[in-house]
């Protein structure tokens, strides 16, 4: 086998800045260097083809299924009812409306809080302190820990009777909190778990953005007499806005689809107060067994997620302009 042992030619080390024009031949000393790189654009096709198949086909199938009525005979047996399921869903299904409200409450709270806590954590991690490397490694744990396992532990912690948090609170004289049993408290508790899990993710992204900001900017500001807060609001924040938008969008796409810990801890309760769209769709499919209706819910859900992301992206573009 031929071994590739040539040392690379000196010059800029980036595909975008490799010189296209080099000295030699006619043309006033410059010839266009023929790009030695053969095309491999088709390398994306296997992945794109596979993913399209695995995504587009089910979505289409979902749409077709959602337009039929639920029968026991099997999905292709049912009569065609067109958009009746959607009509019922949007106009009459109060449980669906409740799920939308819950989903928005949960996602907006999570993303907003996580932007703040993520930024705080990132700022802490830019400082020098002992064992910083180890701390940076450890913060990954909430992010990779199996959400189901974490949910089991949160159950031990947040259980209303005899949960660890409440027994500590009671021994301190503060009194128990109905973390998961009170409809008004349950979504904030679930948001707390979400914040625990995802703040490190946000912090890692923000950290990457923070280290890029040149020290010189801060020094110049110090000379002008700016204090820490002023430096943050006038230098750091404006420069971080694009990254905050990216992180918030990434986070929002997942927050809207939250499922694991909610399903394990509350199953949507108490009294549907924590039933998010994902859970509602799942229950419709697998507990009520109404596949066509569940298909309608999941298609609508998909459209809503796309719409939400588009809104975020649109709002951020306008701000840039």
């Amino acid at each position: 086998m031929q071994k590739l042992t040539t040392s690379p030619p000196p010059g800029p080390s980036n595909a975008e800045t490799s010189p296209r024009y080099v000295r030699g031949g006619g043309n006033a000393g410059l010839i266009k260097r023929r790009s030695p790189r053969p095309s491999a654009k088709w390398y994306v096709w296997p992945a794109v083809g596979y993913v399209s198949l695995i995504v587009a086909f089910p979505i289409l199938y979902s749409i077709i299924t959602s337009m039929k009525e639920n029968t026991a005979g099997g999905l292709f047996e049912g009569p065609w009812v067109g958009v009746e399921n959607y009509w019922h869903l949007l106009a009459q299904d109060s449980q669906f409306h409740n799920a939308i409200v819950n989903t928005l409450y949960y996602s907006v709270s999570s993303v907003v809080i996580e932007v703040v806590t993520g930024m705080v954590l990132a700022l802490i991690l830019t400082q020098q302190f002992l064992f910083r490397g180890i701390v940076r490694a450890l913060i990954l744990i909430p992010f990779v820990m199996t959400p189901t396992a974490a949910a089991l532990i949160w159950r031990l912690l947040m259980g209303t009777n005899g949960g660890y948090f409440n027994s500590v609170l009671e021994s301190l004289g503060v009194g128990a909190v109905p973390w998961l049993s009170d409809p008004g408290v349950v979504i904030p508790s679930l948001v707390l778990i979400d914040v625990w899990q995802w703040t490190p993710f946000m912090a890692i992204i923000f950290l990457a953005g923070l280290v890029i900001i040149p020290e010189g900017l801060y020094e110049a500001a110090s000379i002008d007499g700016a204090g820490g807060v002023r430096k943050f609001t006038s230098i750091t924040l404006p420069l971080m806005v694009p990254i905050i938008v990216v992180a918030a969008t990434l986070r929002a796409t997942d927050a809207l689809k939250a499922f694991d810990h909610i399903f394990i801890l509350t199953g949507g309760g108490p009294a549907n107060s924590s039933e998010l769209l994902n859970i509602y769709a799942y229950k419709t499919a697998f507990e009520f067994g109404d596949m066509p209706y569940a298909a309608a819910v999941s298609v609508t859900f998909f459209v809503l997620v796309i719409a939400a992301i588009s809104v975020i992206l649109f709002a951020s573009r306008r701000r840039k302009a």
Partner: protein, 274 residues
């Protein structure tokens, strides 16, 4: 003197914050492991966080009474194959996106993440049920590739973009084909990134609950489903629950710590380069 006091206060404040961060991050796993080592008597009595007489009874109970060993095997099979598929499809795709500016394709692959799992789960369930693919590895693997392929591609685009193209150019001058350059230059150079991206994909597959809840049966239950065995409200058995949680999550935590530096680089790179 006052400047010195200011400095000391700042340092103390910083370390205090670091401690808060560590408590916030580590309390849950710490509580999990500590509780898993406590016997039932200790748990009854309340007591402090740490077990006075550590015991492995809970682990024995969980491994014997649930089908956890089989579930671990199932999760391994599904995760490894789904990650393998992601590598075969995603590495070339990421290469093309990074080196040939196929950015719109890159965006499309990432947008796939916007599809809620339930929107896929319902049709998958219907189709697989008709094809008798419920409770099969194949069905679960197909579903899991929806997690692994976009994630791995997204991460690898960031890693590939970071690599200078000098060595590849040198290879082309030597007359190598794209395939040779890809296999002999890019892949060895990005070993770290590939390891991190693969491990992160595997972790997401391992952790996934919703596809397992819908598509797995008694033969193919994956690890997160063990939670359902502990959800009865009659008696909450702290020790076994904590032991189960430990068995479920410790493997992925350990895996993540091994490649943590690359994971952080990958996540940051993938996001910041958008």
């Amino acid at each position: 003197m006052s400047l010195m006091v200011k400095k000391v206060t700042k340092r103390t404040g910083l370390y205090a914050l670091v401690v808060v961060v560590l408590v916030f991050v580590l309390f849950v796993p710490f509580f999990m492991i500590a509780t898993s080592l406590k016997g039932p008597m200790e748990i009854q009595q309340g007591g402090g966080l740490l077990p006075q007489e550590p015991t492995l009874d809970n682990f024995v109970k969980v491994l014997a009474a649930t089908e956890l060993p089989q579930m671990i095997l199932n999760s391994l099979i599904v995760g490894l194959v789904a990650t393998g598929v992601a590598l075969v499809l995603g590495l070339p795709a990421a290469y093309a996106i990074a080196r040939y500016q196929r950015d719109r394709v890159g965006t499309a692959v990432v947008l796939v993440r916007a599809v809620p799992a339930i929107s896929l789960l319902v049709p998958y369930f219907v189709v697989f049920a008709n094809l008798r693919m419920i409770d099969t590895y194949l069905g679960l693997i197909i579903a899991h590739t929806m997690l692994t392929v976009p994630l791995l591609t997204w991460l690898m685009v960031g890693f590939f973009r970071d690599l200078p193209s000098d060595l590849e150019d040198a290879a082309y001058i030597d007359g190598a084909t794209v395939f040779r350059a890809f296999i002999s230059v890019m892949i060895p150079l990005s070993r770290g990134g590939i390891a991190a991206a693969s491990i992160l994909s595997f972790i997401f597959s391992w952790n996934n609950l919703i596809f397992a809840a819908g598509l797995a049966g008694s033969n193919t239950q994956t690890v997160p489903l063990v939670a359902f065995k502990f959800l009865s409200f009659e008696s909450i058995q702290w020790g076994p629950i904590a032991a189960a949680a430990t068995l479920v999550s410790l493997p992925v935590i350990v895996l993540a710590m091994i490649v943590q530096r690359q994971i952080v680089a990958g996540l940051a790179g993938g996001a910041v380069k958008e």
